[in-house]
Amino acid sequence: MPFRRAHNNWRLCLRLEDLAQAGLTMRRHLQYPLLLAVLIATLAPIYWMLTISLKREVDQFAVPPRWFSFTPTLEHYSDAFLNRSFGQYLVTSIIVSVCSTFCALVIGTLAAYALARLKMPGGLNRKLSLWILSTRMFPPIVTAVPLFLMMRDLQLLNTRLSLIILYTGFNLPFVVWMMRGFFVEVPRELEEAAMVDGDTRLGALRRVLLPLVAPGLAATAVFCLIISWNEFLFALVLTQTDAAMTLPVGIAGRVTQYEIKWGVMSAAGVVAMLPILVFAMVVQRYLVRGLSLGAVKG
């Protein structure tokens, strides 16, 4: 590969070059300290919330901050989930996430299969895939107003059903796009063999293709769970009652109130965070692909 030397200000470039050169040679010695610094910067705030949720109030307000030496207590957890309504929010969050994920997976996988395997005329496969993806690109606030009015007219405000419907819709493009990618990677011959043996297309999908993409399906499911679990704007707009509120909305409602119970807040925060962390570890391998909707790799 030929190199162009098109530097106008060679003096400056030389100095920059030296600096960068030095940086690159130093990186061998720097990498472990750097690694440690990055990890601390990333994880310390999360750990701080964890400690607050386990501290008695005396320790919470201690100056200087107590990172390690405090007497742990679970009182904030029982306060949040037994005395206050956080238990109910948690149940709502679980129901809404699981149901919407299930619906999106069923509907979306069928569509993904059609887009990956069944050729339609006029390049429709590609066009539809792109269109489906593009529906995910709107800023959510754009559809918040009309969807609020729609749910109001359907008398679905303050119901879990409204959130299940909406989250199914939000997750669909994602499921279609991910699953289409997984399907395309499986060689066609495997299904064709099953069909020669007398299986129908959908039979081959169920018995041959789905088992092969099972890890991808699981990863997609986990992504949907995370997206639904974390969603905030629509839950805020559509649910205002304790019976229908999700965990994020419940937490936010308490944060912005005047008197803040930090222990309760953090306890709820930790509970909202834990399933996500577990899930994230499970899908690590698929993560970059999922977050970029497959745009980086293939």
């Binding site: 994880l43 200087p64 050729k119 539809l128 559809t143 905030f232």
Partner: protein, 309 residues
Amino acid sequence: MPRLRRFLNAANKKGLGFRVSGFGSDRTLAYLLLAPTLFVLLALSIYPLVHAISLSLQITSGGAARWSLQNFGRLFSDQFFLAALSHTLIYALSALTLEFLLGLALAVLLNRQMRGRTFLRAGMLAPMMLPTVVVGVIWRLMLNPNFGAVNGTLKGIGLNTTALTWTSSPRLAMLSVIVVDVWQWTPFMFLILLAGLQAIPQEPYEAAMIDGSSGWQTFRHVTLPLLKPAILVGLLLRTMDLLRVFDQVFILTEGGPGFATETISLYIYRTAFRFSNFGYAAAMSFVLLLITNIISAFYIRILQARESG
């Protein structure tokens, strides 16, 4: 499975080939399978969009709605809207720049075989997977002026922190929300760029070494151009998210103090759900949609120009 494939190949060679794609019902089946998805997306994406357009073009006076461009006309004289617009742009640009530079530096420095890398990746995944509400809680705790870990630590090394009220200071509030976003999303940039770096083949580097180019030259003329698709995708996705920011700011500052961190999404939310002015909110959301579309079209054009060129 290899045995199956071998069998199929053998069958094909013996003239026992088959064509499954000739089924006439494939197309019908495709439409059937796609129908539920298309229905849901039409109902939850396209219909609301059309409804929003009609809302934005109507004003209600005295109980009766009539068609008007007034909602759009009002935009340009609304100080709050213009302020929210500029807050959003400042926020997006600062956070994007910081996340990109930090992410790139980390990806380049940590792109090599070493122990603890899986651990690093797992650790860095944590912030971006968290519910934004939890991120908000975490940083309310960290940045609390009196007992937060940030001020506590600064005090510990002997600094005066009385002026550092973070989210409740008009001057520091914007900085606070930017820092929080950088904390949460730099790992994303890092992971995308790292994936991009690892996809670069070894040959250009070997060629560069033979040509005797320095580390910086190699980075400038080999790594950066080959990394460009990953860079563009990372920037595109972050820009879209930053322009529509709502959750973090809502939890951290609620747009305050005063109006200091009010972004477009927050202002739209307030207009619609506090003041019930749905038409004006819809008009503003179209401006936001237009801005994000123009910017993403710009990115995608660069990306495509690269692929074809």
